[in-house]
Amino acid sequence: MTTENLRVLTSASYAGPGDAGRTGSWRVLRPVIDYAKCAPAKTGKPACFLCWLYCPDSVVSKTLEPTIDLEYCKGCGICAEECPSKAIAMVEESNFTEMEFPSLTREG
C-alpha cells in the first residue's frame, strides 16, 4: 500500500528525553543544586550521580557539575530526596517568575 502521501498518522514517540512534550511547564517546585555540597562538583570526580540515576525523566546530566534540563523537569523532587549530600533544594517556582518574566513584575 502507498501511504507515504499521508502527512502524519498519529503521535508516536521513541525512547529519549522529553518526548512527551515540554513537561517543564507542569513544575511547581524547581530543583536547585548547591555545587558546594554536590559530590562530583565538589571533588571534581565522576562519582555519586544518584540524581542522574533516579530521575524518572532523564533530565539530569551525568557531568561533573550535574545540570537539570528545566524544559522537561516536572519538579517531582526525587533527585532532592535521593541526594546523599542534601545538595538539591526544591524551590517554589514563583521565586523565579519575576526573574524570567521581568515585564510581569510590579515595578515593570
Partner: protein, 397 residues
C-alpha cells in the same frame, strides 16, 4: 463462482478472501452467523488467522486495534448496542489511524429492547472518524469488504461496512465469489507505518498536548489539533481514492463502477429518491413503475456516507424539482441525519430542489413498495417541505 448464501456468509467470505489474520468478535444478533462462520473457517484451517474470543465488543475492537498496530489485518463485526459498547474504541481506532474493517449489521438500538433492523446504530456513530459504506445486496457486501481493506490500508482510516440486519444478513440470494488469486492481486499485504514490534519499541498515541512541539530529533511533532485536521482532510481525499480503488477492482474482478452511489434512471429525472442500504433496491421497482406512469423519477442509492460526497450530490441533485430522502434513522429533535447532511450539501446550489424527508422501518417496522410509491407521488409538485417534521411511514400500523 456463483453461490446461493446469506448476507452474513457473503461478509465472512469477503473477510476470508481478504486473508484477515486476526478476528475478534462478540456475538450479537443479527451479526452472529458472520463471525460464527469465520470461527469455523479458522477451526477447519481454511483460513490462517487467530480467532480471539473476547468478553465484550469493547475488547473485540481493542484486540483489533492492537493487531492492526503490528501490521496484522484485523476484522470484527457487530450490531446495535454492541457497536455502542465499542464507542470509545471506535474513536480510538480512527484517531490512531489504523486500517480496520468492521461489518455493522444494522439493528435498532435499545431502549426499548429491539433486535430488528434500522440504521440508528451506525448513523449515530457517524462522527467517530470511520469511513461508512452501506451495501444494498449480498454482492455489494462481499465486494465492499474486500475493497474496504484496500481503502482502509491506503488512507489509514478504519471502515465500517454497514448492511441491513435480516433484510440482508439472514436472506439468501445468489452472488459471485471472486477467485482468491484475483483478490490477492487486488489486495497486497499491509504494513502499518508505525509497525509496532519488539524490534522497534514505540509509544503510540501518546499524551498529545494542545500545541505542537519539537520531538527528540528537533523536528516539529504535531499537536492534537493538527492530527484532527489531518484525519479530516485525508478522509475527504478518500472519496477520490475510493473511486480509483473501485476502478482497480472492476479491472481485476469485473464488477464496480458505482462506488459512491448507484444512479438509477437519474439522467432526466425531475424527482430523485435517496436511500441507504437494501431499501434502495426495493425503491428501484417503485421508480420503474412510476416511470411507466410517465413520472420522471430516479433513484440515488447512496453507498458512501462518510466521507460525505458533498460535491457529487450537489452536482447530481442541483436543478431537480424534488429530492425525497428515505431514512431508517433520525437525529432526534432535528431531522433524519442523511437528510440534514444532504440539505447542507445542496445549500451552495443556485437551483435547490425541495427536499422531503421520510422516516421508516425503525426497529423493524414493516414497509412496503406502496409506501415508497405513495411518498414519491406525494412529493410531485410539492413547493416546500417541513424540515424539522419529517413524515413517518407506517405509524399506527
Amino acid at each position: 463462482m456463483f453461490v446461493f448464501e446469506s448476507g452474513n456468509i457473503a461478509a465472512a467470505t469477503g473477510a476470508k478472501l481478504a486473508r484477515v489474520q486476526v478476528i475478534a468478535a462478540y456475538p450479537i444478533t443479527p451479526q452472529t452467523p458472520l463471525t460464527e462462520k469465520l470461527s469455523e473457517y479458522v477451526d477447519s484451517g481454511v483460513l490462517d488467522a487467530q480467532y480471539v474470543a473476547v468478553e465484550s465488543e469493547h475488547s473485540a475492537l481493542a484486540v483489533c486495534i492492537g493487531a492492526s498496530s503490528t501490521s496484522a489485518r484485523a476484522f470484527t463485526a457487530t450490531s446495535a448496542n454492541g457497536l455502542l459498547y465499542m464507542a470509545e474504541q471506535l474513536h480510538w481506532a480512527a484517531g490512531a489511524r489504523l486500517p480496520l474493517v468492521m461489518c455493522v449489521v444494522n439493528r435498532g438500538i435499545g431502549a426499548p429492547f429491539n433486535i430488528w433492523n434500522d440504521h440508528q446504530d451506525s448513523i449515530s456513530q457517524r462522527d467517530t472518524g470511520w469511513i461508512q459504506i452501506y451495501a444494498k445486496d449480498h454482492q455489494e457486501i462481499l465486494d465492499s469488504v474486500i475493497k474496504a481493506y484496500r481503502l482502509s490500508e491506503e488512507v489509514c482510516i478504519p471502515v465500517m461496512i454497514c448492511y441491513d440486519g435480516y433484510y440482508l444478513s439472514h436472506t439468501y440470494m445468489p452472488y459471485d465469489v471472486p477467485d482468491q488469486s484475483a483478490v490477492d492481486a487486488f489486495l497486497p499485504p499491509y504494513e502499518y507505518r508505525h509497525n509496532l514490534g519488539p524490534k522497534k519499541p514505540t509509544n503510540l498515541n501518546t499524551v498529545t498536548l494542545p500545541g505542537g512541539r519539537p520531538d527528540i530529533h528537533g523536528e516539529f511533532a504535531p499537536g492534537y489539533m493538527e492530527l484532527r485536521e489531518c484525519l479530516h482532510v485525508e478522509m475527504v481525499q478518500a472519496i477520490d481514492i475510493y473511486r480509483r480503488i473501485d476502478g482497480d477492482f472492476a479491472q481485476l474482478i469485473g464488477r464496480g463502477g458505482n462506488p459512491i452511489a448507484e444512479r438509477y434512471l437519474c439522467d432526466d429525472a425531475d424527482y430523485v429518491a435517496v436511500a441507504l442500504g437494501s431499501m434502495a433496491n426495493q425503491i428501484k421497482d417503485v421508480v420503474s413503475r412510476l416511470r411507466e406512469e410517465g413520472l420522471k423519477v430516479g433513484l440515488l442509492a447512496l453507498a458512501l456516507y462518510r466521507p460525505f460526497p458533498n460535491e457529487f450530490l450537489a452536482s447530481e441533485l442541483s436543478g431537480r424539482k424534488g429530492v425525497i430522502v428515505f431514512e431508517k434513522a433520525i437525529s432526534f429533535g432535528h431531522s433524519g441525519a442523511l437528510c440534514s447532511d444532504l440539505q447542507a450539501a445542496l445549500y451552495p446550489c443556485t437551483s435547490r430542489p425541495v427536499v422531503s424527508n421520510y422516516i421508516l422501518g425503525l426497529g423493524g417496522r414493516s414497509y412496503q413498495s406502496s409506501d415508497f410509491y405513495n411518498a414519491i407521488r406525494d412529493c410531485v409538485g410539492r413547493g416546500s417541505a417541513d424540515f424539522q417534521n419529517p413524515a413517518w411511514i407506517g405509524l399506527g400500523r
